[in-house]
Every structure is written in structure tokens, then in C-alpha cells.
């Protein structure tokens, strides 16, 4: 099938809202090159389970695509604007194998195989250039919506570490103020209370998050919470499936990845009350790397994906100690889940320090970056870095105060 052959009934296998969305924009989809369209359909097919921010972004992109193709007649040469946007993708040469894949109903599988094809045929760089050009144009044509209030990101690192001689916050200090007289008592509850207050002041679905690398602390029900500890049963179920899959004849890395990507919450024993959030959480485990076995990797990836997809106004991320490194085969064994876990708090502190930097980078990619704030705190200790428009950069402060006060200084 070619894109031009798409018809309303082509989307029968799509979930209801996705089907309607695709049908509404059918004329635009028909004009897209096959090197591009399946990656868009990969988003469309998940529309029913997307967060509000990504739904809005997808709708904006499709509307833009429709305006570009409005004067095109399928099968005839495209207008200049369309060519300008997608010309790079038109230049990508595909293989008959790719063209014959079921890109309509399995767009994710297609995109995975397209990636392999691009590398093998040395077209990766050309595709990357086309994609970046497209993204730049899209940002200009469909400017992202400013947040309802300036964003606040918080990272808490170093749980379980009594003392650390190394140089913390090295990458974040140049962007804010280093505080070394923070009163740590009652720190986490103060931070969670601040998140709850923001959730109350700016109520919106999936706008205020708390991600914990262990078991979550008590928190307000208005906050969206994801935790490594809370997904223990799902993680063990997944490791069991990986173990079984790797013993299957003919199963290879690509097939395993495809199988994992198709897993739904119910396949891992989740009884869903919030399908959007549950799918998000399961994807952290099935699409993330290391998220199944290392809590620090899970926490960083969860924050990255939540920022990218849900674009929250507030996010508190608490890194917890991960297990020590063991042979990968053992880490991935479901049986190992039954043995006592030996933790690596110091290594986890280093992981969390880098993870906090990535959280800040990812927050700064969102609209309103010039007004957003970020706080990283060494849990249980008196050091933190605060980044905010109201604060100077690359400086230190010996002012004493607790974390509630520090958040006020950042406001």
C-alpha cells in the first residue's frame, strides 16, 4: 500500500479517537512520503492514550500538515511549500522490504526497521538533517503554548549517603546559586508540600509529578506519582518474559525489542485505573534501557519521558539507591529478584547528580524555559543548587534556611 491509497476504512484497527483523528486528516496523510508518514502514524495510533500536552501538539502538527497539503492534489506534484518541508524525506531511498511492511497498522515496527535501513544504507545523516529541518520549521509554524505558570523542577539525590568527598552539582552550579547551609530537616515533606500547593493553585491533569526511585513518600492525591518500587511486580513479570523470550528459538534482539514494545499493562499484571498513566509506566520498562534493573536509570528515564510527553508544570524527582552491578544475565534474571539486593549508594549519588542535570536540560527544552526554575538537593545534607530567573548564576551563598525558604527565594 502507498500513502495515496489510504482510505477512511484503512484505520479500522486504530483505537476510536485515533481513527477519527486519522480520518479527519486523511487528505494530508495521503500526501506524505513513506519515509515520514509511519513515524507520524506511530503517534496517531497512540492518540487515545496520550497526555493532554502531546495530544495538543499532535493536533497542531496535523493541522499544519493539512495547511501545507491543502492545495495539493494526491498523485500530482506537490506545491513548493510542501516540498520545502518534506523534500529531505522525499530523497530517502527505501527498500522493497520496507515498502511492503504493514506500516499502517504497525508503524512502530516500521520505524524500527527504517532506522536499521538508514544506518545500513548510509542515509542516517541525510534523514537526521531532514528531520531536524522539519522540527525547526514546525516549531516556527506551530509555536508551543506557554505554560500556565513558570515550571519548577526539583531533584533530590544521594539518599542513604552519609558523606561524600567528591564535587557535586558540577554541571548545574554554573547556572545557579550553590547553597551550603541548607537545613535538611523535614526536607522531603517540605518539597512535597510545595508540589501539592502548586497542584492546588494550577490544577490540570498530569501537570504535577512526583517520581521516586524507591517507594514513594506520602503525597497529595492531586500529584501524579510514578515509582520504581510501585512497579516491582510489573518489573518482575517483564524480566520473566525476557528470560522466556531469550530461550525461544529464532528470537533475536530486534524481535525481543518488538515483542517488548507490544506489551500492554495487562500483560504485566497491571489492573488499570488510568490507562494513559499505566501505558506510560509500562513503556518506561519496555522501551527504556536499564530501567528494569537499575532504579537510577528508571528514575532519570521516567523524568525525561514525563517532561517530554506530559510537559508538567511541576516535577519532583527523588533518586534512590540502585542495586550494585552484577553480570547482565543475572540482573535480567527474574530469579535474582528473589535474592537480597546489595545497594550502591555512592554510585547512585553520582548517577543522580548526572540525572539531575539531565532533568534540568530536559525541562529547559520545554516552552517557557526562560521563566522556569530548578532545584537540586543532596538529601539529608545542607548543600543544594537553585536555578531561577531571580537568582544569579555561577555563585555561592552561605545564607541559612530550610527548603521551604529556598523555594521562596527562587520564586
Amino acid at each position: 500500500m502507498k500513502p495515496i491509497d489510504l482510505k477512511p476504512e484503512s484505520f479500522q484497527a486504530y483505537p476510536p479517537e485515533a481513527r477519527k483523528l486519522a480520518t479527519d486528516y486523511l487528505a494530508a496523510l495521503q500526501t506524505l512520503p513513506l519515509s515520514f508518514l509511519p513515524s507520524l502514524l506511530r503517534e496517531v495510533i497512540d492518540y487515545d492514550y496520550k497526555f493532554p500536552a502531546e495530544r495538543k501538539a499532535l493536533e497542531g502538527e496535523l493541522a499544519n500538515m493539512r495547511s501545507l497539503s491543502a492545495v495539493n492534489t494526491p498523485g500530482l506534484p506537490q506545491n513548493a511549500g510542501h516540498r520545502e518541508w518534506l523534500g529531505g524525506f522525499e530523497q530517502i531511498t527505501l527498500s522493497p522490504h520496507l515498502e511492503n511492511l504493514d506500516w499502517l497498522n504497525q508503524p512502530a515496527l516500521y520505524v524500527e526497521q527504517l532506522s536499521s535501513h538508514l544506518w545500513t544504507t548510509h542515509q542516517q545523516d541525510a534523514f537526521r538533517a531532514a528531520a531536524m529541518d522539519y522540527a525547526t520549521r514546525l516549531r516556527a509554524a506551530v509555536p508551543p503554548e506557554a505554560p500556565a505558570t513558570p515550571r519548577l523542577g526539583i531533584a533530590v539525590i544521594g539518599q542513604g549517603v552519609d558523606a561524600y568527598e567528591g564535587h557535586l552539582f558540577r554541571k548545574l552550579r554554573p547556572h545557579g546559586v550553590y547553597f551550603n547551609r541548607i537545613q535538611p530537616e523535614n526536607g522531603l515533606p517540605q518539597l512535597l508540600a510545595a508540589v501539592a500547593a502548586r497542584a492546588k493553585a494550577h490544577p490540570a491533569p498530569y501537570a504535577h509529578w512526583y517520581i521516586d526511585g524507591g517507594q514513594p513518600a506520602e503525597h497529595d492525591s492531586a500529584i501524579t506519582c510514578v515509582s520504581y518500587g510501585g512497579l516491582e511486580a510489573a518489573r518482575n513479570a517483564l524480566l520473566g518474559k525476557i528470560g522466556a523470550d531469550t530461550k525461544q528459538p529464532g528470537m533475536g534482539p530486534e524481535a525481543l525489542r518488538t515483542h517488548m514494545a507490544q506489551l500492554l499493562p495487562a500483560d504485566l499484571g497491571r489492573k488499570s485505573t488510568d490507562e494513559t498513566l499505566d501505558r506510560f509506566q509500562i513503556r518506561l520498562l519496555t522501551e527504556g534501557s536499564g530501567t528494569q534493573i537499575f532504579s537510577t536509570s528508571f528514575t532519570q528515564w521516567a523524568a525525561r519521558e514525563a517532561l517530554r510527553r506530559a510537559q508538567p508544570l511541576t516535577m519532583l524527582v527523588r533518586f534512590a539507591p540502585r542495586q550494585r552491578q552484577k553480570p547482565m544475565s543475572e540482573l535480567l534474571s527474574a530469579a535474582s529478584a528473589q535474592t537480597p539486593v546489595e545497594l550502591d549508594p555512592l554510585g547512585s549519588l553520582v548517577d543522580g547528580d548526572m540525572g539531575a542535570y539531565y532533568n534540568w536540560l530536559n525541562q529547559q527544552r520545554l516552552p517557557g524555559a526562560d521563566r522556569s526554575s530548578f532545584l537540586v538537593w543532596f538529601e539529608g545534607h545542607n548543600t543544594a543548587v537553585a536555578i531561577a530567573p531571580s537568582l544569579s548564576t555561577g555563585t555561592g551563598s552561605t545564607t541559612a534556611g530550610d527548603l521551604s525558604q529556598l523555594l521562596k527565594w527562587m520564586a
Binding site: 507520524l40 545523516d125 531536524m132 522540527a135 516549531r139 534482539p253 536499564g290 540502585r322 547482565m328
Partner: protein, 399 residues
């Protein structure tokens, strides 16, 4: 400035809004900083015309070459850039000052470890499946070397991590191929074969592939073949091997132990060592990634010391050290920083190389781009074999 997410487009392919110009500028900045910080080094461009031929003089013993891939993908900012130099103290203080150092080695091929290492070994950007047990399609340096110089199989060796690397010693090229390449030794397979039954004392040495849970492919002859390698080629008893392995802490340390045995007992002229501990980065744990870099740094210095202390090698050996490629940039929204090497961005494609020892000028930095495929033609020029199927060209500064 941080690159913005491209909203829903971000999750698509490479619609992943990094600004390549910014990354390139950052790379250039890093390299200039490196030049400034590596005190005592001279910029190489000014020296090019000054009689390099004299350097190649007088190596009375047969020339030997050792290549170490500083494996598993390492970025500038955790190695040669100012903020990364603390992780490579041995390279910074011992090896680089004695080397000709190339600050820009560009890999234009597929950024998977097996296929990229195969490309380094053939001088051609290979396209074999990174996760399949397949030989490179173009002749390897080992095949050129052995065929043209009529060398025995014992004169070219590869010491490699297990994943798929068992086929890297010789190509599927019709003019070369089976029996004409390097002997490949996979230390983890040796150890697995030496262990009569599973022992938890050694599990840390049997760590393998960090990108997939799949274990290594079956090898010809199974355990018997591995044990024969131990006994007949390395002249090493199973008990001695097991006893020493117990003192080591990582797979790459096991590889370097095998390298020592090879140097002492076989003394190959062309020895290729692929490190892999660094690739734990795929698990997303930054601390384990930099631990891997520190270990690899130490092991490179150990290999150089071995070269100096072995009579067969001292004075007539040239050593190369280079990462197979880098990893994704923190600023590239399409990746996840150090964790992977999937974006194909400039930082993941651009890395460095040092060459030191016989015939190589000391303490010189070359800040011009060279290509990853230039390594094989350079080895050929140094050892007097031609590399007609390679895409690269010899690095003039080393000849």
C-alpha cells in the same frame, strides 16, 4: 542555549531537534581546550614538513603493532575534554605526552560496536548486522598482513569481548576468508570453558553485551576448542588461568591478562585488543560508565608497560589507542546523553586516537580530521602491506 523539544515530532525518528552547528562548535571548543591543557604538546601542522622519514628509521627487530579500541563508545567530555581528563589520568600523564595525538577521528559508518570495530579492522564502513554472528565483508588488516607478508596464523591475534566478535578475525571476501585471518580469542569464553561448573566467584568476569540480554553465539568446537586455545596456544593451564582470573574485577581486565600471555608466549606482530567495559553506559548508570573509562585508561597504560617490558616488543612496537566511536551529546534531544550512540550526531561520530612507540613522533597534537577507515591503510603502510579494498588512506603524519 538548550535545544527545544520538537513536541510530537521529537519522538519521531531523528526529528530530534539538536542544532548540529552548536554541537560542532562545542566539539571544536573542547579540542582547543584540550590542546591548551595538554601542556608540553606541540601542534602538529607546523611539523609536517620536517623530515618525518627519520622517525621510521632504525627498528632492527621486526616491527610489531598493537591496536587497542578504547571500547564501548566514549565521549570527549569523559575523556580528553577538560572536564573529562580526571577519568583518564594514565593517558593524560603517561601516554599522550609520548604520542602523536589526533583530536578528530570521524566515524562515518554504523555506530554499533561490532560493525564499527569491524570497519576499523577492514578500513571499510561495513554494514553487517551488529548483533549477528557474521564476518566482515571486506578483507581485514589481518588478512592483508598474513597473505602479503606470508605470515602464519600465530602472528595476528584479536582479543575481544564475546558478543559477535568471534568472526572479526577474517572476512567473507572471496579472495581472503577462512583460515587467512587473525586468531580470535574470547577471554570470557575461555573462562566459561575452564569452569567445570558454574562458580559465583567468576560471574563478574562473564558480563557480556550491555545492549541486549542475548548471550554470545555458539562457537565452533564449544568448550573443547576454548580449552585447546588455552593449552596449545597460550600454554596456560586451566588451573593457573582460573586462579588468576579470580583476582580480576572485570571482563576487560581478563582480556588484558590474556594479552600478557599472548605477548609472552606467542608474541604476535599484529595484536588487536577490543575493550568493552565502558558499554555498561547502555544501562543508564553514569557512575558505572565513568568507572569503565577509568579502568580502560589504567589497562591501556598496563598494556604499554607490558610492551616496554617484553623483549620481543620493546623498542619495535607501535601502539594505537582509539575509541570505536563516541556517544550521544547531552544537548541532543534525540538521544539520552551518554547512555546510547543512536543519534548519529557529531559527538557520537567524532573521537580521538593516539599513536605511540616505534616510528611515531612524540608529544605532537594533530587537530585535523582523519577518518576511522584511515587506520588500516596506515597499518599497511607501517608494516609494508597494501590495503586495496579499504576506503581510507594512510595518515601521512605517522609515516
Amino acid at each position: 542555549m538548550i535545544t527545544k523539544y520538537s513536541q510530537s515530532a521529537l519522538n519521531r525518528a531523528a526529528a530530534l531537534g539538536s542544532n548540529p552547528r552548536e554541537v560542532v562548535q562545542r566539539l571544536a571548543w573542547n579540542r582547543r581546550e584540550f590542546l591548551r591543557d595538554a601542556a608540553g604538546l606541540v601542534l602538529g601542522g607546523a611539523l609536517l614538513s620536517s623530515g618525518v622519514a627519520s622517525l621510521a628509521a632504525a627498528t632492527p627487530k621486526k616491527r610489531k603493532i598493537v591496536v587497542i579500541t578504547f571500547g564501548g563508545g566514549a565521549r570527549d567530555q569523559e575523556t580528553i575534554a577538560p572536564e573529562g581528563q580526571e577519568y583518564i589520568p594514565h593517558l593524560m600523564s603517561e601516554l599522550i605526552p609520548q604520542s602523536s595525538f589526533f583530536t578528530q577521528v570521524v566515524n562515518r559508518g554504523i555506530l554499533g560496536h561490532y560493525v564499527a570495530t569491524a570497519s576499523l579492522a577492514t578500513g571499510f564502513y561495513e554494514t553487517v548486522n551488529n548483533f549477528a554472528s557474521l564476518p566482515p565483508e571486506h578483507p581485514t588488516a589481518f588478512e592483508y598482513f598474513r597473505k602479503q607478508l606470508n605470515r602464519p596464523s600465530s602472528d595476528a591475534w584479536v582479543v575481544a569481548p564475546s558478543n559477535g566478535f568471534n568472526r572479526i578475525g577474517e572476512s567473507s571476501h572471496p579472495a581472503y576468508g577462512q583460515g587467512t585471518g587473525a586468531t580470535v580469542v574470547l577471554p570470557k569464553h575461555l573462562l566459561a570453558a575452564a569452569l567445570a561448573s558454574g562458580s559465583s566467584d567468576y560471574e563478574h568476569l562473564l558480563r557480556d553485551n550491555y545492549e541486549t540480554p542475548f548471550q554470545v553465539p555458539e562457537l565452533k568446537g564449544g568448550g573443547e576448542f576454548q580449552l585447546a586455545q588455552l593449552d596449545q596456544l597460550l600454554k596456560l593451564s586451566v588451573d593457573d588461568f582460573k586462579a588468576h582470573a579470580r583476582t580480576l574485577s572485570s571482563p576487560d581486565e581478563l582480556s588484558v591478562y590474556i594479552v600478557r600471555q599472548l605477548m609472552q608466549k606467542v608474541a604476535p606482530s599484529l595484536l588487536w585488543i577490543t575493550m568493552h567495559d565502558i558499554d555498561i553506559a547502555h544501562a543508564g548508570t553514569y557512575s558505572l560508565y565513568v568507572d569503565g573509562i577509568k579502568r580502560t585508561d589504567r589497562l591501556c597504560a598496563e598494556v604499554w608497560k607490558m610492551i616496554q617490558s617484553e623483549p620481543e616488543y620493546a623498542g619495535n612496537t607501535t601502539m594505537f589507542v582509539l575509541p570505536d566511536f563516541g556517544r550521544d551529546a547531552d544537548e541532543d534531544a534525540g538521544g539520552n546523553g551518554f547512555q546510547h550512540h543512536r543519534t548519529g550526531g557529531p559527538l557520537s561520530r567524532t573521537t580521538w586516537m593516539l599513536a605511540m612507540g616505534a616510528g611515531v613522533r612524540e608529544g605532537v597534537v594533530y587537530d585535523r580530521p582523519v577518518d576511522a577507515t584511515d587506520l588500516v591503510p596506515t597499518l599497511g603502510a607501517m608494516m609494508n602491506f597494501s590495503t586495496p579494498h579499504s576506503q581510507g588512506k594512510p595518515i601521512a603524519e605517522l609515516l
